[in-house]
Symmetry: C2
Subunit: 321 residues, 2 copies
């Protein structure tokens, strides 16, 4: 039996879901940062432009981390000016182009180039804070505090990533109260939104809904919460559905499933934006994304990287072998 391109799912809404979801596209930053071979700056800029052309309105562009930490993103000062015309200022129309800023030095560089959306990257666990930032959780929060307050003073929008919200490779299951504590600290210092990360992909839908409910009970409203699932165990889209049912309207995803290699030992594959859009489009949830253009972008990027996209929707729509 052959399977011709159907292109789009049938639209049948489900009860209790949001009318619209904002996709926070992380492919250009989170996706590319693990690529070993250096991707030329012009290719990154073209990737971001194509993502915007496909209708994505929040495209994380790069990271102003020290080049030694993430060599792939060492060109952020060259890249950002190539795409910053896409970004609207504050409430104005246009595309949001958030950039990661690990510390005040990174913030200075981002603001100097006109970034209006920045993000800090915290951890819910001590082990990952130590591994990723060489600090305790509290030391890293103290490091972020002036970053957030200065960004806010400059009227930039601040996202706080919270990684290892469900499981941690060293510590196992992560107690909800640890996640709540870090989330509240980030909001207290002025973050506008949070992204709850299942960095190792172990979460299941009940765990997700439980964390969201606990955060609500502790005074954190759902509308500041985004979710960031990894597909390591194939759970990302089911967890996303559970989040939507709880009222979440911001979902992180990576075009073509870029990020980590799903075939390698420490598989950390991000949820593929195309698989997410297929589901949302079928559910009648508006994203503004053109699935055909997005898939074409991921196929083009896969060509640049020299290997196929792990996204099932990209495979199915592109007949990518």
């Amino acid at each position: 039996m052959s399977t011709p391109e159907l292109g789009l799912p049938m639209v049948v809404p489900a009860q209790g879901l949001p009318a619209r979801v904002r996709i926070h596209e992380v492919g250009a930053r989170d996706g590319l940062q693990n690529e070993k071979a250096t991707v030329p700056t012009e290719v990154k800029a073209e990737f971001i432009r194509r993502l915007a052309g496909a209708g994505l309105t929040t495209i994380e562009a790069t990271s102003f981390v020290h080049p030694r930490w993430v060599p792939q993103l060492a060109d952020s000062e060259q890249l950002f000016p190539l795409v910053s015309d896409l970004g609207g200022d504050g409430g104005a129309p246009g595309v949001r182009l958030p950039v990661l800023v690990p510390n005040e030095r990174g913030l200075d560089r981002a603001l100097a180039l006109g970034a209006r959306h920045v993000a800090v990257f915290a951890s819910a666990t001590e082990s990952f804070a130590k591994a990723n930032l060489n600090r305790t959780v509290d030391e890293s929060l103290a490091m972020f505090e002036p970053v957030v307050s200065r960004a806010r003073a400059d009227r930039a929008h601040v996202r706080g990533y919270v990684s290892m919200c469900f499981g941690d490779p060293w510590e196992g299951a992560v107690p909800v109260h640890q996640v709540v504590r870090v989330c509240k600290a980030l909001l207290d210092m002025g973050c506008d939104e949070l992204s709850l990360g299942d960095t190792i992909g172990v979460a299941t839908p009940g765990h997700v809904q439980n964390l969201l409910a606990e955060l609500n009970e502790e005074g954190v409203p759902t509308d500041v919460l985004g979710v960031h699932f990894h597909d390591t165990y194939g759970q990302a889209l089911a967890n996303t559905l559970a989040s939507l049912q709880h009222g979440v309207t911001t979902v992180d995803a990576s075009a073509g499933g870029l990020g980590g290699c799903p075939y390698a030992k420490s598989a950390t594959g991000n949820l593929a934006t195309e698989d997410l859009v297929w589901m949302l489009q079928g559910l009648g949830v508006d994203t503004g994304v053109d699935l055909g253009r997005l898939t074409a972008t991921s196929v083009w990027m896969a060509g640049q990287l020299g290997r196929p996209s792990p996204s099932r929707t990209v495979k199915a729509l592109s007949h990518q072998e």
Copy 2:
């Protein structure tokens, strides 16, 4: 960051889900039937034994189709006696070993070998009925009628597969009333349960819940309904979650994601049993399956077939490159 084997998800139940799900394992039949290289009968028998050893209680064993149609399953008369000791009779303890019977001749062969669970394979669309059975939908139902009634007279349990319940590669979106009509016809002729197949993987959660609700409205109770999702667009587990939320307690899956090649043009990958078990275990839904033993079985079978399992959970737990 390395990702040591965590092995199992944290258990956090979600509201409104069944306490127990029966997994209908299709790897040995639906999974293997598309394999080009002939799998030795002894390997198939060992696969089924290992699946039973991992705790699966419903293992579709083979098909009594004419050998010309599905050469891979031409050994069903040799295979079934090698594993039939696993199968309990009717309500007795043991493993269910359903076999596909396309017609009365196939039923005769299956019953002669002591099969107690049989299945017929219908289509919701004319195009697939024509392509798969060279008959109209009504002609194929007429062919199944004596198969089902004679199986029932012999006190065998009968499952009715309904393929193309959501989309069809020739006809596009499939109207719900077509699916309802075929389901009711199969139940009227005596089928004990149905399996609703998303054969090309295009369904999304609202579409799934809508079909289930329409079937209920037409007098078909949820407890005779199983679901059979394909992961062609990455939707299988989200659709399964939506089905569980509707009360479905029978879910088809294929060990290691066997069935169709997820990397080939007409990707038809079945939902991987391991990805399903990870979610159900995390949700605290009892399946009786030992995820470690199941994963080991799929890794072993991948070795027999000479290529890695497409299941993300198998990849993650086995560090399969």
